[in-house]
Amino acid sequence: MNKTKKLFIGTRSKSGVIFLAFVYTMLISLGFIYLYPILHMFVTSFMSLNDLLDDSVKWIPTHISLDNYKQAIEVMKFRDKIGSTLILAIIPSLCQTAVSAITGYGFARYRFKGKSILMVLVLLTFVIPPHVMMVPRYLMFTDYKMIGSMGVLLYPALLGQGINSAIFILIFTQFFKQTPVSLDESARVDGAGDLRVFLTIAIPLAVPAFIVSILFSFVWYWNETYFSSLFLGSSNIGNQRTITTILMELMQFEDSYKKYIQQVAGSWGAGGSVESIANEAIRMAGTMICILPLLLVYFLLQRYFVESIERTGITGE
């Protein structure tokens, strides 16, 4: 009797076997479906041409070929671009996080007239798609001759208008609201000024929020191409200065591949007769290269990533 009971629902403290089996099956099958594109990409990127053409090879390449990666790295000029890509992702993320923290602290700890209006405006900047501001921002950057320089990402980030800054401001506001005021007060009694309280009391307590903010900003800045390709000058011809990131290289992978092949073939003296369309394996290798740094960061920091999100109380809003 006890055993059957255990099988079904168990007790409040322990779930039944059937239930657990159900949960695991769901999680594993959904997880597989979920990961399918990434797995597919990962596996395909190692395949040689023979494996691609062979129908019997579906999941496991006959031998692991790194040629695709070598070619993709050449095509995407990885060595040249990785530096600018990293800088363009890291510096704006740090700026955005810093400003969001300051703003969030202001909202959480101070009372001033018009605060609620400002909070609504913060929400508004999240809700209204940035595409409305695209044309005027573009013209503004053109006027100040900033197209193709890092300023186009840096200045908005520094002034709290980076990618999804509103979310981070709300997270920080929420987070600082949760940290006890008494600590601030005792520091103030000890004679610390407002800035000092913020720097020495509030910031160390808000480490999880900082981690979330920096990580997400980094990922979003890394992944953003729609605006950055416009503002960094690579999507319209005629700009003197352009910066391209790895992701933008991925966008024009086919073209670059053609050029690359012509270059290689040119040195042999065999012009256009060469096959100049990148096969899936090379394209997937290129895609893998783009997400590899993110995957690395994610797997190294995923513990912080997930736990700190739970601790920041995003949902408070």
Partner: protein, 312 residues
């Protein structure tokens, strides 16, 4: 005069000033990068903007741009329609799926960390170019769907006007599921906030887990569902593979249409999005004011206690 005032309001006024100082950078940014561009964008949307070598000529043309994009442009209306219909179908799927995953992960299970890592992974992968590649590769659909002839069934069973969105739903199923990364996170955080005592009380009262879900979990998550719906809508609306925004950019860089048309498109699109958000807000709704419950508590104290508890 000034000194007197300072003496009178000293502490609060100075504290207020400090508050303003903290939000000052953001406010400046808001004015420069949000308020000013949005006004400017509206002006462009009702003007003909031409760029010559020397200057920018902005000539007001009334609502010609809007008339143009809605009557003459062959793509815009069509793409708007496709986007909004697809969103109407994928949004509920995302919301339900992410709630499901969140509840599964929230169980007491082993390898919790592993599964969490797995289900949040797409958050970092969903970027325009990468998704473009994966879609082109056909990796965003489940291969089984085609094998078992799901599309044939759809074509036979589903009425004509639903066919397109539903086959879209199936053909891009994984992609749509991938958008649930952040919603899962938000749900999880919400689930963990629900007081465990509520569940125990319900169990003692003999409620099945089905009932518990509908009577405790869902009502407690109501505001979170709203947050998720809005977030997902914004996310879908600004996704780089969204056909509408691709069109807007193409028009902006096209010398024949130019900035005026692009601004008009961006404005119409945003207004559309805001309308949808309004609808979501009305459906998901705000929590009803607590006053009502209190009034009930006067009449039937026993029941009201439960109602209050449910609200958490």
């Amino acid at each position: 005069m000034g000194k007197k005032r300072r003496l009178g309001l000293g502490v609060t006024a100075r504290r207020e000033m400090k508050g303003y100082l903290f939000v000052l950078p953001w406010t400046v940014g808001f004015l420069i990068f949000f308020a000013y561009p949005i006004v400017q964008s509206f002006i462009y949307s009702i003007s003909n903007v031409r760029i010559t070598a020397k200057a920018r000529i902005v000539k007001p043309v009334g609502f010609d741009n809007f008339v143009h994009i809605f009557t003459k442009d062959i793509y815009f209306v069509e793409r708007l329609r496709v986007f909004f219909i697809n969103t109407a179908f994928s949004l509920p799927v995302i919301l339900v799926f992410s709630l499901m995953i969140a509840m599964l992960i929230n169980q007491k299970i082993r390898l919790k960390g592993f599964f969490r890592t797995l289900f949040f992974l797409p958050i970092i992968v969903v970027s325009g170019p990468v998704l473009d590649r994966l879609i082109a590769e056909g990796a965003t659909t489940i291969p089984m769907i085609q094998q078992y002839g799901v599309y044939d069934i759809i074509n036979e069973v589903v009425p004509y006007f639903l066919r397109e969105p539903i086959s879209y739903l199936f053909s891009q199923l994984i992609l749509i599921l991938w958008y649930s990364g952040v919603p899962i996170l938000i749900y999880l955080a919400g689930l963990q906030k629900i007081d465990n005592n509520l569940y125990e009380a319900a169990l003692i009262d003999g409620a099945s887990s089905w009932v518990v879900f509908w009577k405790i979990t869902l009502p407690a998550l109501k505001s979170i569902i709203l947050v998720n719906a809005i977030y997902t809508l914004v996310f879908l609306g600004t996704s780089e593979i969204n056909v509408v925004i691709i069109l807007i950019k193409a028009n902006m860089l096209n010398p024949n249409t130019g900035f005026g048309i692009a601004s008009a498109m961006a404005w119409s699109y945003s207004v559309g999005l805001m309308l949808v958000m309004g609808i979501i807000y009305l459906i998901a709704g705000r929590e009803k004011p607590a006053v009502k419950t209190e009034r009930k508590s006067v009449k039937k104290p026993a029941r009201a206690k439960k109602a209050l508890a449910v609200r958490g």
